[in-house]
Amino acid sequence: MVYYISFILIGIGIYGFLTQKNLFKHLISLTIIDTAINIFIISLGYISGEEAPIYSKYTPIANFVDPLPQALVLTAIVIGVGILALGVSLLIKVYEKYGTLDVEEIVAKEGK
């Protein structure tokens, strides 16, 4: 189920890349793809009926979902935001240099 959701979201992200001409939209598509992949990874480790992998008073017995994908996703999310920040700063500079964020206009200006 969630698999399909994440696949469709990846698809939407790719679609965004393919159809949009604004560089901001590209970053947004990238974020969508990242989120979709994160969802996919978490869903790979989900076991229905079991608990979140934290020992506590309420869950004394180790009936946990797979914790490893969660750990990986934690890493992936942070890496994602790092890249996003970098992309945004590049974007600001692109705008300063070319005065536009439209791909075609940038190409036209670079050709000059």
Binding site: I14, L18, Q20, K21
Partner: protein, 614 residues
């Protein structure tokens, strides 16, 4: 005896020394070069046939060696004669000409090292290595010439690389199949090879290096631009020597790998492969001759004649009977000497006048008589007129073709001979005869340093023309070593199945004729000398002298017959621009796109992989 590897090393290190010396003083550097090359000539002359040296081993199971064969010795001596004489010429020439004299001298030595290595290599890989060294050295000199020479150098290397990479491919096929690369062993293995296709492929691919280098038909276009634009004195080496490296590889691919024994006879004892090569030679003769007639630049003209003469050599070698093969080898010598003479005399003319366009000159015979004599003898030899050595080789080739019954080829070679009279006459008339231009009134004959090598070459070609025994001795030993029936000759008389030729008699007859003509010329009154402008203008004002120069459109009546000829240069130009525009399209599609494009290609790749896997 001095080992060859030592000689090669001396040349390689000598290049550094020469660079440093030339930095200090150009002339001393050039003298150093001359001494080194002359010394090499001396060493090579004294080499014993069969002498072997181990060098190194790059591929497993293949010991790279030098071995002195008669064929290699013959070629190397011709080359070193040309190189050392041109080096002598350069002693004076270098004062004015190349933009980077130090580099020029150093590269000449590197190239010579490569050349020596090529001729004494005993296996395919060693030959390739030294071949590329020679190409490297010569390629670096070419762009020191005229404006177009930068483009010319690239064309030169690329053409050479096309040939040499085909050669390399064949080399590795052999290595992969037999595990050896020595010439003797390769030919032994080839004799036992059942697959005809493989033999064809090997011989053709190895020959292609020679085809590229000696400017045979499909790869002939580089000669015009390279010889035409290289530094003037270096053109003499290019045409007189480097092109002969190609002939050497052709000789190896046809005779060291005994093509007549390897492949079934196709037409009067000549295999189909050789026949194809002969036809390539024929086409080269036609193209070279007819294109040479059209040229207005004297260096480009002789460059085209090199194409034609490369064709002659290939035809001679391709026939592969005793007289044809000997004729081909003899023509190597003749063309080397003649081309060197002609290019040196041109270099002398350019040294004094500063132009290579025929219609900008005229009447230089009065100012530069010795240069004129060199040129005259050179073109006589090139055109194959009897008292010079040039005639002997052409006569031998005609003879071979006649005995084999190849009448079409014979006709073409005759046409080529007649054509060569036409094209060599054009610079003769345009540059040396006719009226002297005003701006050339102050031109002087070049200095003795330049004249000596030119006259030595002149004497050499006349001498061999009268007394060809030294060259024929070589050729006989080559033919013996390759298992071809040697030609018969005694003294000055060459014998074939169709008759014989006595060079001495012919020389005597021509000498007598020449003396008679000279006497008549002196006795009878001469024509009146007039200004260039006088004879054409009848009251109208002259705007453009060139139009009235008789060398403008010299052979217009002939050229008109094939004005719309198919041009291979244009064809290759189209090919190059096709590649370039392919690259442009690829660039636009894959490398210059926006992020959308990148994602598109990622998706496409995934889809392709997906499609392939499932």
């Amino acid at each position: 005896m001095i080992p060859i590897s030592y000689l090669v090393l001396v040349f390689l290190f000598g290049s550094v020394v020469s660079y440093l010396i030339t930095k200090a003083n150009r002339i001393v550097g050039a003298i150093f070069n001359f001494l080194l090359t002359f010394y090499a000539l001396f060493v090579l002359w004294n080499l014993e046939i069969g002498h072997t040296e181990k060098l190194f081993s790059i591929l497993e199971g293949v010991e790279n060696t030098f071995k002195v064969s008669s064929l290699g010795k013959y070629f190397s001596i011709i080359s070193l004669i040309v190189i050392s004489l041109v080096s002598f010429f350069i002693i004076e020439w270098i004062r004015k000409k190349p933009s980077r004299p130090a580099a020029f001298n150093a590269f000449v030595l590197i190239m010579s090292a490569g050349i020596i290595g090529v001729f004494f290599s005993n296996d395919l890989l060693t030959l390739y290595i030294f071949w590329e060294i020679a190409v490297l050295g010569s390629f670096l000199i070419v762009p020191m010439g005229k404006e177009d020479s930068k483009k010319a150098a690239v064309i030169y290397v690329v053409t050479s690389a096309i040939g040499s990479y085909m050669y390399l491919f064949a080399t590795f096929s052999i290595y992969n199949k037999y595990g050896i690369l020595e010439f003797d062993q390769v030919s032994r293995f080839l004799l036992n090879e059942p697959s005809n296709l493989f033999k064809w492929f090997i011989i053709l691919f190895i020959a292609s290096a020679g085809i590229a280098k000696s400017g045979i038909f499909p790869l002939h276009t580089w000669l015009r631009i390279t010889h035409g634009n290289a530094p003037d004195a270096f053109s003499a080496i290019l045409s007189g020597q480097l092109v002969k490296m190609g002939s050497y590889v052709l000789a190896i691919s046809l005779s060291v790998f005994p093509s007549t024994k390897l492949l079934a006879s196709f037409y009067s004892g000549v295999p189909l492969l050789n026949y194809i090569l002969i036809w390539l030679g024929n086409i080269s003769i036609i193209i070279g001759t007819f294109m040479a007639i059209r040229q207005n630049d004297m260096k480009q003209l002789i460059a085209y004649s090199s194409v034609a003469n490369g064709g002659y050599i290939l035809v001679g070698l391709g026939v592969m009977n005793s007289i044809g093969y000997a004729g081909g080898l003899f023509h190597v010598f003749n063309h080397a000497i003649a081309a060197a003479m002609i290019f040196l005399s041109f270099a002398a003319v350019v040294y004094r006048t500063g132009t290579t366009k025929i219609d900008e000159m005229g009447g230089l015979i009065w100012k530069m008589p010795w240069t004129f004599v060199t040129y005259l003898v050179g073109i006589i030899s090139l055109a194959g007129i009897p008292p010079t050595s040039g005639f002997i080789s052409k006569w031998m080739i005609f003879n071979a073709l006649l005995t084999k019954g190849m009448f079409v080829t014979l006709t073409i070679t005759f046409i080529g001979s007649v054509g060569s009279f036409l094209y060599v006459f054009r610079p003769l008339a345009g540059v040396f005869l006719g009226q002297l231009k005003k701006k050339h009134y102050e031109v002087k004959e070049v200095s003795p340093v330049m004249l000596i090598p030119m006259l030595v070459l002149t004497l050499l070609t006349l001498f061999i023309g009268v007394y060809p025994k030294p060259v024929l001795d070589f050729i006989v030993s080559i033919e013996n070593s390759l298992g071809i029936k040697p030609i018969e000759y005694s003294g000055t008389i060459i014998k074939t199945s169709l008759g014989q030729w006595d060079t001495l008699t012919v020389f005597t007859m021509f000498a007598v004729g020449f003396i008679i003509a000279l006497v008549l010329y002196i006795i009878f009154p001469r024509g009146k000398k007039v200004e260039l402008t006088d004879q054409y203008t009848g009251g109208e004002y002259l705007f453009n002298y060139d139009l009235y120069h008789y060398a403008t459109g010299f052979y217009r009546f002939l050229e008109r017959l094939y004005d719309k000829h198919p041009s291979f240069e244009k064809l290759y130009g189209m090919l190059v621009s096709f590649f370039k525009s392919m690259g442009e399209i690829i660039n636009e599609l894959f490398y210059k796109v926006s992020p959308s494009g990148y994602v598109f290609w990622i998706s496409i790749v995934i889809l392709i992989l997906f499609w392939v896997r499932w």
